[in-house]
């Protein structure tokens, strides 16, 4: 069939931002291909969920509702998704690159023998009408464009915040299609059971912060990272980190910015001791203004910075704090 399907992640009917972002992107892809944009929602307590999806342009909303489908379990969600894709034969299928999407999408792609590209930072329709799945590769040292010439659906996952989230001007007069869960799911799909679950909404909001002070491996240690928090406190900013800094234990994973972390678009991005691998810059290159503080004048990030302060983070940050205290009104 001629459609794009977005798997819409949800918690008791609350649709995840990443899925709304994918619908927004899916709409422009569907426009290019002249095909439909559809949404699949699997879970519990889904009454009325279709209205929000129509507002993001979904033509048909497929709903599979059953108390056992929330919280997410791999096998029943995979069975429904695989079953629906077999019937619908979508051209393209999009998933959030979340704990759920990255668990589900590969399982689905394997069953359908279709190609899947993880963590895309850009999706385009090429002149050949194929989906161009663009992502950094090899630790972010190259950018690869991946295509699936012969297999359908063309599948991709995208991290939250990478695509913009925009409702349509006029909600689509969409169609609701209820899927009969028993047709897709068997009791044996519930063989893995959840014993305990502790989900916390992250208190760190780097996505929404207008100013971000981010540190890289060059900051040197967890103790020295405290300086970034000092500056952030003064500026009313949030603290972010590169993957290298997170891997080294300098900062919490929730602060990671980049392809495998969060994508941000702040007014001001202060990069402290960050070299600027594409893995990182993919998540911050749309910042309105970038200041790079680095001892290495040749650091790649300096080429995209508006201001480069050549110097040691430990020397420069206290001076910035002092300058702000002197000049702020």
């Amino acid at each position: 069939m001629n459609n794009i399907i977005v798997y819409c992640e949800n918690q008791d009917g609350k649709i995840a931002d990443v899925s709304l972002e994918l619908l927004t992107k899916g709409r422009s892809l569907a426009g290019r291909l002249g095909c439909k944009l559809d949404a699949l929602v699997v879970g519990a307590h889904l009454k009325g969920v279709e209205k929000e999806l129509y507002a993001f342009g979904a033509d048909t909303v497929f709903i599979a509702e059953d108390a056992r489908l929330c919280p997410y379990l791999t096998l029943p969600h995979a069975a429904i998704t695989i079953g629906l894709f077999r019937e619908e034969q979508p051209q393209i299928a999009l998933f959030g690159a979340t704990s759920i999407g990255r668990d589900l999408a590969p399982r689905v792609s394997s069953a359908l023998q279709s190609g899947l590209t993880a963590d895309c930072t850009s999706l385009e329709i090429g002149e050949d009408n194929l989906l161009y799945q663009i992502r950094p590769a090899l630790g972010g040292n190259i950018i690869a464009t991946i295509i699936n010439p012969d297999h359908r659906p063309q599948m991709a996952t995208v991290r939250e915040g990478v695509m913009k989230k925009e409702p349509v001007a006029l909600p689509v007069a969409g169609k609701l299609q209820i899927l009969e869960v028993a047709k897709y799911v068997q009791d044996s799909d519930f063989t893995v059971s959840i014993i305990e679950r502790h989900i916390e909404e992250s208190k760190i909001d780097i996505k929404g912060a207008p100013v971000i002070v981010a540190g890289g491996y060059g900051v040197g240690s967890k103790e020295k990272f405290e300086l970034l928090f000092d500056l952030a406190k003064v500026l009313g900013a949030e603290v972010g980190a590169s993957r290298a800094a997170v891997d080294a234990g300098f900062a919490d994973h929730a602060r990671q910015i980049g392809q495998t972390g969060v994508t941000v678009r702040p007014k001001l991005y202060i990069a402290c001791g960050i070299s600027g691998q594409i893995q990182h810059t993919a998540g911050m290159d749309q910042s309105a203004m970038i200041i790079s503080i680095n001892t290495d004048p040749g650091a790649p990030i300096n080429r995209m910075a508006d201001y480069v302060i050549e110097g040691d983070v430990h020397e420069v940050i206290p001076k910035m704090i002092q300058a702000y205290k002197q000049n702020s009104r």
Partner: protein, 268 residues
């Protein structure tokens, strides 16, 4: 509790992309693999540790390492032996070349069928691709359930294995039956070091190799032929040229910058 438990750990030899130097890219924009050290994929090390812990818990458990790659990837299996694994297999054959995650999963699943383990453990993802796809794809090919992002194997409840999962916004404890595929998160315990006596013993250990003929299956599903994805284009990283102002770290110049940012309402 399982009296016997056969565990296969999936491990990949990867270029160390975390320490990419300036000469990592050739002039033509392709990757200079020769200068990137080949290492045991970090998450797979975490998986090996979880497998070795189960081996300690269950005296009759065995741990084998399965890797796919060129002949030099036998080093990965020896590395596993140095740290406590009982054996391993290297899947190597020209027919496997050019495989994407799906064709890789097919080959691994074929080998796993022949090895007949109760439990397959793998790192969540490899640092050269960061896709996290092979674990779930192998599970699907075997028609086994999967538990991804494991941080700790908490033990057994009867014949079910209890796994603590690390999610992006919390933790979850699940019970799962065997056979099972578990992918292990990088936040799980680090792998124990090499054991000196084992290092001496296995330094030159012969690693059995399997090719397409050893694992059978549908030849069309191996290597490039079995890969639905194609690389259309590879670009070297070029940052957009932007007008950049360079400042020294003097207090005066920093004062000037901060004043400017306050005046144009970027901060303050």
């Amino acid at each position: 509790m399982y009296q016997k438990l056969k565990i296969v750990v999936l491990a990949k030899q990867v270029p160390d992309t975390r320490n990419v130097g300036k000469n990592a890219m050739k002039e033509d924009g392709t990757v200079n693999r020769a200068v990137l050290p080949a290492i045991f994929n970090p998450d797979d090390m975490n998986a090996l540790e979880q497998a070795l812990r189960l081996k300690e818990l269950l005296p009759n458990a065995t741990v084998e390492v399965l890797s796919m790659g060129p002949e030099r990837a036998a080093d990965i299996i020896r590395e596993g032996l140095f740290r406590g694994a009982d054996g391993g297999i290297l899947l190597t054959d020209r027919a496997f070349a050019g495989a994407d995650t799906l064709a890789t999963s097919y080959a691994l699943a074929q080998a796993i069928r022949r090895m007949q383990p109760d439990l397959v453990m793998a790192g969540r993802q490899a640092i050269d691709g960061d896709t996290a796809q092979v674990g779930p794809q192998v599970a699907e090919k075997l028609n086994w359930p999967q538990v991804t992002y494991a941080e700790d194997i908490a033990g057994f409840d009867g014949d079910r294995i209890i796994v603590k999962r690390r999610l992006e916004n919390g933790v979850e404890q699940v019970a799962a039956p065997l056979p099972l595929v578990v992918t292990v998160h990088g936040s799980a315990a680090s792998c124990r070091p090499r054991h000196a006596k084992r290092l001496m013993k296995y330094k030159k250990a012969h690693i059995p190799q399997w090719g397409v003929d050893d694992v059978g299956g549908d030849r069309q599903q191996y290597g490039l032929a079995g890969s639905p994805t194609r690389v259309k284009k590879i670009e070297n990283i070029v940052f957009q040229a932007k007008e950049t102002r360079h400042l020294s770290a003097s207090q005066e110049e920093i004062n000037g910058l901060i004043r400017e940012l306050i005046n144009n309402h970027t901060i303050g």
